[in-house]
């Protein structure tokens, strides 16, 4: 069956893509795959979900990677960046040119871009910076200025430092060990960069702790911030319900939303960072949540916590 033909022209596709290259980039790997449909539909901030382990794999869950770049050659290619941290990503790192992988994409909501030519600061942690370069191109098409603030534990873990320096109006690098740029973490430099670049909008992608701090600082400076979250996913298409986090909607109601289809990009202030990994008591459908229209029998929260029935 040709996937994707049943919904809109912009929806995700499931394709068998041929690997073009796998190359090591400092501490990471970058894989380029021929996937014309995905390349054509891609918008910065979206991701792909890749099946790993080959036929009869014992690893059932897809690995999700934000798309670093798409190119028109070979009809359309997609590149993503990953760390060979587990069994699945080590398998991916061992792929060779002409191997075929099953991937779905482009998935998730992309970064919204400003209507006006404003000053944009792109903040990345580790290889979380990967999706920021396609975003930068898109922003420059809109005549926005782009400044980069990238950080990691060490210089070999700052993804795209060179590209940032070459293409950004400014590029500030921080490393915890001081091996590249300024010693420290990105949020140490955020205030200074915002001040110097007269930042109007912040885009951030990286570990949850970093996104939380960037959001807090952005709020202090009253600057809107768009974050792309990294939650662990099983399916990437919105059916498994594992990648949820508490997000406040425009109606003021907190819901446990799926980062794969409702995100991965959120307005920073919508995410209830302090409660990620929990169910806030007032979240829609939480034990403490009260429906406005009709009353339901209350379930004692203590009972709820004690039981481990496995209805899913």
């Amino acid at each position: 069956m040709t996937a994707g033909e049943h919904e809109s022209e912009s929806g995700p596709l499931q394709v068998r893509g041929t690997v073009l290259t796998v190359r090591q980039v400092d501490a990471y790997y970058a894989m380029t795959i021929v996937a014309p449909g995905i390349a054509a539909r891609f918008k910065p901030g979206q991701f792909v979900a890749v099946a790993v382990g080959g036929p009869d794999t014992s690893m059932l869950l897809r690995r999700a990677f934000s798309i670093h770049d798409v190119r028109p050659d070979h009809g359309g290619t997609v590149e993503f960046v990953f760390a060979a941290a587990g069994r699945g990503t080590r398998w991916l790192a061992e792929r060779k040119a002409r191997d075929v992988l099953d991937l779905t994409g482009p998935l998730g909501r992309p970064f919204p871009v400003p209507r006006d030519p404003v000053s944009c600061l792109l903040v990345g942690g580790g290889y979380g910076s990967a999706p920021l370069f396609a975003l930068a191109s898109r922003l420059r098409q809109r005549r926005c200025s782009v400044d980069f603030l990238l950080g990691a534990a060490s210089g070999d873990r700052v993804f795209g430092a060179l590209t940032a320096r070459r293409s950004g109006r400014s590029a500030t690098i921080t490393t915890v060990d001081g091996s590249l740029g300024v010693r420290g973490i990105v949020t140490d430099m955020l205030g200074q960069v915002i001040h110097e670049a007269r930042t109007d909008v912040i885009y951030a992608c990286g570990p949850m702790g970093m996104l939380r701090q960037v959001t807090a600082l952005a709020r202090r400076y009253d600057i809107p911030v768009q974050v792309a979250v990294e939650e662990s996913m099983a399916c990437g298409i919105g059916v498994c319900m594992t990648c949820v986090l508490p997000v406040v909607g425009t109606d003021g109601i907190t819901k446990m939303v799926r980062s794969c289809v409702d995100g991965p990009v959120f307005r920073g202030e919508q995410v209830r960072w302090d409660e990620v990994g929990t169910i806030p008591f007032d979240a829609f459908g939480a034990p403490g949540w009260e429906p406005k229209m009709r009353r339901i029998p209350a379930r004692p929260a203590a009972d709820e916590a004690r039981r481990h029935g496995h209805g899913a």
Binding site: H6, E7, P12, T57, R62, V239, G285, H310
Partner: protein
């Protein structure tokens, strides 16, 4: 000639016996981006409850060898939103909707059966009884023959007479046949098996359980032999009761294995996370598997492994006689 894959579920004819498994396809909308949901047997929805429910904290998932643990906690928007939004969408796409229901009390299940009987277009109810019974100290309904029977009796009493009621059984019991008998005595028109098995994973780096909910349901091909065994036992004891089989089906061959054990229909769950077009692919593969064996109708081979055992032993006798 292509094998006839059609099967009957109550008064509805399904084009093939491959269904989604509850909780693995939401209400079908996301899968429609990858497959035509009207061409699979039916969409079995994620379990619907009366009230909205936020579910359990994260992490909710852990990958295991040939399987996964999940601890979602039945997150969902509740029956009102389901009836307003999800059911009409499924019907508008020409899909057949088997609605999975879950509750914390017998009355909640009964109320859901009433609401879904009033709605047009539901093909069948699958009763997820792997939920804690608030009125019985949190004992899971599916693990107690009396509680399981009480839920099914209440649902059967309130469900429209022509709406088939399937009880979804848990393998985490001493004697699944006993629970199956209890559900059938209480009026179940069929049985679905198996639900996930309760499991646990500990992260040896952090030295803590991986799941925030501590335990989770194990699914995937790792549990398929257990599904085959449960279906086999129940089919042997209750040969006239239709079974929807599920548990680690990844391919058409796997679906055939469950059918041979006694399932009339097969639900595909965890495989969807691996391959969003799994249901369509497995229906196609099942068709090929049957064609290769010269099987004309899928309904002919339901439970055939029980007969084949007799056939094989006869063959052995014949060989012995020849020597």
């Amino acid at each position: 000639m292509a094998p006839d894959l059609r099967v009957r579920l109550g008064s509805t004819e399904l084009p093939n016996p491959v269904l989604t498994a509850s909780g693995c396809a939401s209400s079908g909308r996301e899968l429609a981006q990858f497959i035509d949901v009207s061409k699979i047997g039916a969409v079995v929805t994620k379990s619907v409850m009366l009230a909205p429910r936020a579910g359990r904290p994260t992490p909710r998932m852990a990958e295991t060898n040939s399987g996964m643990l999940n601890s979602i906690g039945l997150q969902g928007p509740g029956i009102d939103a389901f009836l307003q939004r999800d059911l009409p969408w499924l019907l508008s796409r020409g899909a057949r909707a088997v609605v999975s229901i879950a509750g914390s009390t017998v009355d909640e299940y009964a109320e859901l059966a009433t609401r879904l009987s009033d709605a047009a277009g539901v093909t069948a109810l699958e009763v997820n009884i792997s939920c804690p019974n608030v009125e019985h100290r949190g004992q899971v309904f599916a693990c107690d023959p009396v509680d399981a029977g009480a839920v099914i009796e209440a649902v059967r009493a309130r469900a429209r007479h022509d709406l088939p009621v399937f009880a979804k059984l848990s393998p985490d019991v001493t004697d699944i046949v006993q629970i199956a008998r209890s559900c059938v005595s209480a009026g179940a028109d069929g049985l679905s098996m198996i639900n996930t098995l309760l499991g646990m994973v500990i992260d040896t780096e952090t030295m803590r359980p991986v799941l925030a909910g501590l335990t989770g349901g194990l699914s995937g091909p790792a549990i398929r032999p257990i599904a085959v065994r449960c279906i086999w036992q129940v089919r042997a004891a209750l040969p006239d009761v239709p079974i929807i089989g599920m548990g680690g089906v990844m391919t058409g061959r796997d679906a055939l294995e469950l059918i041979l054990a006694g399932a009339s229909m097969v639900s595909v769950g965890t495989a969807i996370f691996h391959d969003p077009s799994a249901c369509a692919r497995i229906a196609r593969e099942l068709d090929e598997e049957l064609a290769r064996r010269g099987v004309k109708r899928v309904s002919e081979i339901v439970g055939a492994a029980h007969e084949a055992r007799a056939a094989a032993s006869q063959g052995r006798v014949a060989r012995m006689e020849r020597t």
